[in-house]
């Protein structure tokens, strides 16, 4: 079946079997391998992408169901090739990743949280990433990364006084 997907801002047409998941389509047909194939049955969150801005599991969706929808993968978050988004950079700074397998999913889930809530509590962050499993970090530094990014994003456009004199 022919399907048109809006992936990271560009229309991409693919010809897929109905049984092909959005995850496999992104990885195999569009070479976007940032969405990771973990459990492939909806348990781990490694395959998380944003569909119309909301995090979903791309292994639980067929590409034919995504026809015409707006999809953002981890490749679409940074402003330019070789750059990192504020949130991605915060993961580096707080050591929010070790092997990195869960990281694209963690970042997209947290990205959607910060879009909706610029000042999340630790409980909000835990809830947002509750569907994403990490086998390495123990989650603490991931939560720190999201807190750091939230703070940086809040201060980005704050007047100098509110930013405490920081640049």
């Amino acid at each position: 079946m022919k399907v048109a997907l809006l992936v990271n801002g560009a229309v991409r047409e693919v010809d897929v079997e109905p049984r092909k998941t959005l995850l496999d389509t992104l990885r195999e047909d569009l070479s976007l391998t940032g969405a990771h194939a973990g459990c492939e049955h909806g348990v781990c969150g490694a395959c998380t992408v944003l569909v119309d801005g909301a995090p979903v599991r791309s292994c639980l969706m067929f590409a034919v169901q995504a026809d015409g929808l707006d999809i953002t993968t981890i490749e679409g978050l940074a402003s330019a090739p070789g750059e990192l988004s504020v949130l991605q950079d915060s993961f580096c700074e707080t050591h929010g990743l070790q092997c990195g397998f869960c990281t694209p999913g963690m970042i997209l889930a947290s990205h959607a949280l910060l879009e909706a809530n610029p000042a999340p509590t630790r409980a909000d962050i835990a809830e947002a990433i509750s569907g994403n499993i990490c086998r390495c970090t123990g989650y603490g530094q991931i939560v720190e990364a999201v807190e750091l990014a939230a703070e940086r994003l809040r201060l980005a456009n704050a007047p100098r006084a509110a930013a405490g004199g920081r640049p």
Partner: protein, 292 residues
């Protein structure tokens, strides 16, 4: 973890969906896919054709009718979770929704899908049974409504017509001024399948006496169960009386044993959580009463 082959159609209306279902006996309806797609991936389900109803406009949305809140089958769980109508008219569903899966599964998963899949530990079927909601299905023969209690037959088994689909769920709205709710659940990890869950809704009169009460228990047997605690009506719903009423009503439960929890444990926890949910519902109703 790759599904077997199937064909895929996206009908333009409920009538067209019913026609496809009628001519393909092993077709399956898909909406959010959060229950069905894992079953396809594990090849526990192998339909020849998937009928995708998610984009049918006639099935989505939340609407109020006198005394009833009507939720369309393909309304996403996240929409119900954020709906001000659900929060004000159906607080018990609002309290249960954060326990349904995780944010990413609620973004895709639908209210109707959770009902139609009839997982015994699922929260939305539990609320539907506790509040005596009505489930509406449709096939080529027409529309059919039945009480939630009759709809759920067993694990993943419902009274939905063979070649039909669930179109809406109709929840009765309690119009008393002081209505409170309580929801509790025990699972291995937050948002995993519940071993036991309890949902309670209570209405109090200005003197703090109970005028109406509903209690449902999920996860203990092969379907959610409504417990009869009407003996508490007319009382203040406090002290040992609550636990005693729940314990007596829990005699109808038929808990199952599995790797995670024994039948005896499930019964014990069902009574405990049932009483706790009622306690929370009373406190919630009192708070609302004090606020007016």
């Amino acid at each position: 973890m790759k599904p077997a082959e199937f064909a895929y159609v996206r009908p333009a209306s409920v009538a067209e969906a019913c026609a496809v279902l009628a001519s393909n006996p092993d077709a399956r309806v898909v909406a959010g896919g959060q229950t069905l797609v894992p079953m396809l991936a594990m090849r526990l389900a192998r339909p020849s054709i998937l009928v995708d109803i998610l984009r049918l406009p006639e099935l989505a949305g939340i609407a109020e009718e006198p005394g009833t809140l009507v939720i369309g089958a393909t309304t996403r769980q996240v929409e119900a979770e954020r709906s001000s109508l659900v929060a004000s008219r159906l607080p018990l569903l609002a309290a249960a929704l954060p326990w349904v899966g995780h944010p990413p599964t609620r973004n895709r998963g639908t209210v109707g899908g959770s009902l139609a899949n009839a997982d015994p530990s699922a929260e939305i079927p539990l609320v539907a049974v506790a509040l005596e909601a009505e489930i509406v299905t449709e096939d080529e023969g027409g529309r059919f409504a039945m009480p939630a209690d009759d709809f759920f037959i067993g694990p993943m088994l419902t009274a939905a017509p063979e070649a039909g689909l669930l179109t809406q769920v109709r929840f009765p709205v309690w119009s008393e001024p002081c209505v409170g709710v309580g929801f509790h659940e025990v699972s291995a990890r937050r948002s995993d399948f519940a071993f036991v869950s309890a949902a309670a809704q209570v209405a109090l009169d200005p003197d703090g006496r109970c005028t109406r009460i509903a209690l449902g228990i999920g996860g203990v047997g092969d379907r959610p169960v409504r417990l009869d605690v009407a003996g508490l009506v007319g009382t203040r719903v406090e002290g040992d009386r609550v636990a005693q009423a729940v314990e007596a009503a829990a005699a109808v439960l038929e808990p199952t044993s599995d790797l995670h929890a024994s039948a005896a444990y499930r019964r014990r926890v069902a009574i405990l959580l049932g009483a706790r949910a009622i306690g929370d519902a009373v406190a919630d109703a009192q708070e609302k009463g004090a606020g007016r």
